[in-house]
Every structure is written in C-alpha cells, then in structure tokens.
Subunit: 479 residues, 2 copies
C-alpha cells in the first residue's frame, strides 16, 4: 500500500472540514453561529470526553473501537478468496442498517455500472445485489435473474427477528433446498448476526452455516465497519483494510479533547447549535459527486434514527430530531435548489466536495460563435462541477443559509473510512449534547407489533385491536 | 388494449385517494383538518376554476392539455421503430426536469434490472442510461461502457442553455464526429428542445439533426408527458398511449368544480392547510413498492421548484415552500420511521399503495418451532407489505401525524398516467392557493450567473466579484 511507503500520503489524504460559511464572521450575527455560543458547550464536551474513554474500555461503544480490530479483515478476505472461484452473484438480504452501508460503500468505491461489467472487468469478483425491501415483484424479478448455483446469499440481521429479512431468508432457504439439495445448499448461504443471541445464530449453529459476527452492542446504523458492511465490500474487491485505516486516522484526530481541534466535537457542536439556536429542523447533505450519494443516504439513517427521540434521558418529552435529506450536486440544483434558496430558512447544509476526481474530462471547443456554448470550450467537467458547488455555497450564504464543506482529497477507501468515522462519532456526540440516547430506537416498536398483529402472530392481539379501533373511515373523504 | 374491450376496466383501474387520516374525525381537533377550514377555501377554488378554462384555451397551461395531443405518440413510436434495428443503448443527456420523468417512468414500468436483461428479454428494445450529472468519473465510466456505433444519444434541454447538458452535448458531439465521421453521426443524436428558440433548435436545423419539440410554455418539471419523458419511455417499450389515456382519465375527474369531488382541488386544499394551519414544513412521500420510488423523486422536484418562492404574486416577501422527501416503504421504516414517530411534528405524509402486485410470493412454512419465524409461514410477501403499510399509517396517526393514501389498483401505464396528472395539477392549484407563481424558478438564476463567472463567461464579472467578496475564510474554522 502506497501510504506505508510514502509518509506524506496520509497527510495528503486527510479529509478537511471548512465551516467558515456557518459562522458569524461570514453569515452575520443573525444567521451565523458565534464563537461565544460554541464556547458555552466546552464544559459539556469536556464532560463527555471524560466519559468516552471509560465507555470504550467497557466495550459499550464498539463503533469507536471496531476499526482497530485487525483480525476482522483477514478473516473476511480469506472467506472471499474461498468463494471467488464459483460465485457470480452476491446477494445481501438485509434492511436498514444491514443494507445501507453495503450500498454506500459500493456506490462510493466500485464502478458506477459495476453489475454491467464483464467478470474480467470486475477482476473476477461477483456482481452485488442488495435487496432491502419485501416488494414481491422486485424480489421475484431478482430471483428470475440469478442462476442459483452461482449465487451466494448473505442474510444480515443483528437480532435475527427482522420480519422483512427473515421473510427473505425463508424464501431463499426453501429455494436452495429445492434447487441444490441438502448438501450443496450450505455453501450458498452466509449469515451475519449476533455472536450469541437470536434465531439466526441458532440456525447457523444447528445447521452449520458459515457465519460472521456482529458485536453485541453494535447497532445496525453503526455497523458498516463490521462484517455487515465489510463482507459485501470485500466481495466486490474493495480494499477493506484501507477503509479501516481511514477510520483509525479519523479516530486519532477525534481523540483531541479540544472542541476547536477535534473534528467530531466541532461538527457536533455546530450541528446542535444549528438545530437549537438557528432553528434548522432540516439538514441537507449535498455531495458534488455521484460516488458520494450512497454515503448521504447512509448518513440519513444514522442521523434520523439516532437523534429522533421523543424523550430525553431525564424522561422529559422533547420530540427531538433534525430531518436529514440528501440532494446530489449538480443534479439537484435543477430540482431542489429553488426551494433551498427561496423557501423557508429551515435548513443547514453539509456539502461534500471531491478535490481530485480520478480523471479529467475536457470540454471541446466547438461552436465558437455561439455564446451559450463557446464559454464552456477549453474548460473541463471537473471545473464545471467545482464552479457549480462554489456558486451554490456562496449564493446560499448570500441568502443567509449556513453550510459547511467536507472535502475528500480523492475518493478511495482511506478517505471514505475517515468520513464514516467522522459522521458516526459526530452523531453520537450530538446525541449526547442533546441529552437523548443516540443508540436506541424505541419509536418503531409499536408499528412492528401492530404489523405482527395484522399477520396473526400470537401475543399481539391488543396492538391489532387498538390500531383497528381508530380506523373508521368516512366515505366522503375517499376520492 | 383491454380497456377498450371491457368497459369495467377503466373503473377498476381508477386511482383512489383516502384522506381519512388527515381529518379531524380521526386525528382530533388539534392534529387534523376540519371541514370548516376546507369550506373556507371554496371561494378561492371557484375563482381558480373559472380562470383555468380561459388559461387553458390561451395555451398557457400546456401540461393540462398535452395528454390530449393524439398526434404525439404515433410520431414517437414511428421514430422508435426506425431506430430499433440498430440501437443497443439509449442515453439521455439531460438534468432536472429533462431527466427525472424518464427515470420515474422506467423505474415504475420496466423490469427493476432492465439493463441487465438480454436483448431478447428486453423485447429488442435498447438499454436506457440517464446521465443527469456532470461528474467527470461518472461520465467517463459510462462512455467506457458503451459501443458508440450502437448508441443513440438524446440531448434534452428546453432552453438549450443548460450548462450541464450542453457540456455533455459538446463531449458527445465531438466523440461522434471522431468515431463515426460526418455522415453517420447524425443518426446517433436526437434533440428534444423548444420548437423555435435556443441554440439547440438552431443546431438541430442547421445540421439537420433529428428532433422533437417541447411546447414553448411547458416547464421542465411539467414535461414528462411530452417528448421529454415519452421518447425515453417508448424506447424501452413502455406503452405511452396508455400513459396519456391515464392522464386523460384523471383530467376528466379534475374538471369537476366541487372541491369535494375533484381530486386535484381536494389534495391541494389539504396540502395548503397542512402547511399553513398544521405548520408541516416537510412533506414525506412514502411509496410501498420499489416501482414507485422514482415517482416520489420526480414529485420532489415538482413540489420543491413550484412552491419554493420568496415572493408572492403581490411582491411581498413570503419565503414560501414545503420540503418534499421520499422514503421507501418498507425499507425506510428501518431508516427514517424512528424520526417520523418520535421527532418533531413537522411532517405530513402521502402514502402510495399498490392494491395488486403483479405476482404473489408465498412464504414457506419452515422452522415451525421457532416463534420468530413460524408466524410468517403461510403468509406472503404481499401480505407483509400491506400489513407494514397499514401499521405504519395507524401508528403515525396514533402519534397525531396526518397522512393520506393514494392507492394504485395495479402498476401500469394507465395508473401511472393518472398519478402524474393528479400531482401536476395538485401542485399547480396549491401554488395558486398560496398566491405564488408555481411555474417559474427565479431563485436559481443568481447561482447560475456566479458559476458562469467562475468559468470566465463574459458579462458575469459582477456576480463573480460579489461571490468572492464575502468569502474570506478564517483558518481557525477549517479542521
């Protein structure tokens, strides 16, 4: 790996966060965040900083320590090598945190039309499908497409009780048995689940399926750097050790106790101030680069589930949460920007920039006499992309809309690893600053129980009746 | 077509809108909308209704009349037939309204892995690529993939001045000349633009490129049922006449002067009341079905650009706009639902349901002794999907969060045509109720000019200087 040979590489590949367009000097007293407001958070940050080490050492924050598990990548890579000779399709059966990480990593680090490439162009790695829904037509369409004998299925569920994933599992389990018979089927399924608990672990052990572990206290949305995200990535030939190394690089920077120098503390402080002081209830992630769109969508889960909480840690009802939205630059300038410029001042923006794209695409000098085309000739798509991002940031600022810019020097596993760690830690710290629990998700339980009731699962009769009882539709309101 | 043979078909395929969970009887006085509030809008609606006919007859609202242009589809289908023998790839070069419609139609009506199918499975129709960004790496990756001699490019820009699309055009124009020589290249490019104005029309005429027209007063976000959306759809074998017929069916229902019976008026009234009275500044579109995700994204542009306006028609500063978000059910229950349930009460929901999926996927009865799996056996993915949507709607209602449900009897061009027309007209009417102009987009001009300046285009020096002048970054705020 290049970075071990050249010590300046790590420095060159550092992710940079420019928050100038969030702050009072550039946005003014009314629209910006002041140093004074930030300083007021220093004691809280100090307090949290003190507790972090203890929590980590007790194993309560595995998302912070998992990049340091050096045994994980070799284990995954060995598995990948073993399956490579026969696997043409790798199918992830998972939903939410069991799917979004794999999708984000592939969008960021594989060819944009990866599944359309020939096996040679894919360097012998299989195609990747992430089926994160239970749409009957979508699922059937996928199964029609795949030759089962060349397909490896990866069931991912921490609890082993996720209805959507377990339904997919039942269908695939049955299919494998019917198509391949009892001996061969074992090779075609790999399970990623809790090391001890849940039915999936039980099934893996009783039936000797291949399996990977998700550390017990690692929630789905924080699991991308465990086997949950790393196995699918490695199956596509992504350098997962570099991903981990990038995360460790950011982890190093995020050990600094000073909020003025610690990227996670700094971003978390700006986030809570944009929410509480500037009253921004929407956070827009705006990557300028197709490869980062999946990272935006992965972040949307992380942010929404972690911070959307009805009660704070003292039990007071707070209905807390900032709604995350991903908008792709430059594309969504032609979709959402009109609203961002002229709609309500309810948004704070996080731009993601790429300093150096992999290639340079020059714009030829054609039609020199047509003014609408002539000015483009001699430039490049690269320059156009950068000009558009800069113009969007500055015109938003002129309208009093705050933004920060995270710049990745290049798109590679090392920079993506940094971004993952930064966002995970920012989210966790922001939750702590808000006084809520960023690691649970109590709000979806009621809906799950009601769905169980509608499917006739025993023990959930009350939830079913309560749901039905409010639903007395009036025909007048149906058109 | 079946529906001409069987008169009950049209009735069966009617899109239905259930708004019960928006209203006071089910949500209560505080969280619901009352009939009294709706009645108050009746005079305004009556006023708008009276003006609509006149505006239509003056040709000012082409999005309402274009489904009735019966000459368009045959013209497009003839073109498609002519290119079918040699075209393997159809590439849309367009952004925003020139891309989102084509993407939405394909996601809704083609196989979910359409580009992975063999040509036989695609019934001889070409693969479709919509390149709606200027990411240099993304663009290069696409070009690497395509054999130019078997590829047809469709440049779409109403004005002919869109920087992103014109940049793509320059690259492709140059590529065709180099790879194919002057005679052949004409076959590989088809232009969709204004009938009279702009450089693209000029180029089409001077160089005799094949072309289609976008009616002069038809804005990008309302253009999906013009050649902008219909040509790419027809290239993939989608029945565009059924799309138009569906739109006409909804147009018929939307001629009713009573807001209690006119789906567009009814939805527009509920929308403005959810924004103004209930203070919902976020509108979540939640389709339960993979095929409808693109429709949600298409709607997001329509809603954001049409309603996000700084000034009302009287020139008063209003900073109007409701932020649209698409969340896919059941997938995003595992990503956003926690926030929707327990976060701030700032959202109103539009569920999209599919009454009958194309196929039925049963869940096998395996593991009868494991309670977490046993209850699923004997059901189907279809039932699971419906149970989840119902449970999500009802638990949101229990938390006081309003929602409506649009049900498509099936996914086909006829029902999708209805949905398109409904949403276009609802958006327009809602803009009129809000007192703003839903057809323009003045807020993106400043950013465009600044980007021109950064690329050195003459005449935009002032915008460039103004942009640079506010940008004096402090190193302290860069981490």
């Amino acid at each position: 790996m290049k970075r071990w040979l050249d010590s300046s590489w790590t420095q060159e590949m550092r992710v940079e966060i420019d928050t100038n367009l969030m702050m009072v000097p550039m946005l003014g007293e009314k629209e910006g965040i002041s140093e004074k407001d930030i300083e007021k958070l220093q004691p809280l940050i100090q307090n949290i900083h003190g507790q972090l080490e203890e929590e980590k050492s007790q194993g309560r924050l595995p998302f912070l320590t998992i990049p340091f598990d050096l045994s994980l990548a070799p284990q995954i890579k060995k598995f990948v090598q073993g399956t490579k000779p026969w696997v043409e399709n790798f199918v992830v059966l998972g939903i939410g945190g069991s799917a979004l990480g794999a999708k984000a990593l592939q969008t960021a680090l594989s060819h944009p039309h990866y599944n359309l490439l020939s096996k040679t162009m894919r360097k012998g790695f299989p195609r990747l499908f992430v089926t994160d829904n239970v749409d009957p037509d979508g699922f059937k369409a996928l199964l029609d497409l795949l030759e089962v004998r060349k397909t490896l299925f990866n069931v991912i569920s921490k609890s082993g009780g996720t209805a959507e994933t377990m339904s997919q599992f039942l269908i695939i389990r049955d299919l494998l048995k019917k198509k391949l018979g009892n001996r061969k089927e074992k090779e075609h399924l790999v399970i990623t689940t809790d090391p001890v608990q849940g039915v999936l672990r039980k099934i893996a052990e009783e039936e000797s399926f291949q399996s990977f572990e998700i550390p017990s206290l690692l929630g789905g949305r924080f699991s991308v750097l465990s086997a949950v995200g790393l196995l699918p990535a490695a199956m596509c030939g992504i350098d997962i050790e570099e991903l981990q190394a990038g995360a460790r690089e950011m982890a190093g920077r995020c050990q600094n106790p000073s909020l003025w120098e610690n990227p996670a503390y700094w971003c978390a402080c700006l986030s809570i101030l944009s929410y509480r002081h500037l009253k921004k209830n929407i956070r827009v992630i705006m990557p300028y680069g197709d490869s980062l769109k999946g990272m935006g969508e992965w972040f949307c889960q992380l942010w929404a589930e972690s911070l959307g909480k009805r009660y704070n840690l003292k039990g007071r009802e707070v209905w807390n949460g900032q709604t995350p939205v991903t908008a792709l630059g430059a594309t969504d300038q032609h979709s959402q920007l009109q609203l961002y410029m002229e709609g309500p001042g309810d948004k704070v923006f996080s731009f993601l920039g790429i300093k150096n794209f992999a290639g340079l695409i020059p714009l030829p000098k054609l039609y020199p006499k047509m003014e609408e085309l002539a000015y483009l000739g001699g430039h490049s798509l690269n320059q156009l992309m950068q000009a558009e991002m800069k113009a969007t940031r500055l015109t938003l600022a002129q309208n009093g809309r705050p933004s920060l810019l995270i710049t990745l020097p290049k798109i590679n596993p090392y920079t993506i690893g940094q971004l993952i760690f930064l966002w995970e830690m920012e989210t966790y710290i922001c939750g702590r600053l808000m006084g809520i629990n960023p690691l649970n998700q109590p709000g979806v339980e009621e809906g799950k129980k009601m769905a169980y009731a509608f499917l006739g699962r025993k023990g959930f009769e009350r939830e079913g009746k309560e749901g039905e009882s409010i639903f007395k539709p009036n025909k007048k309101y149906i058109l």
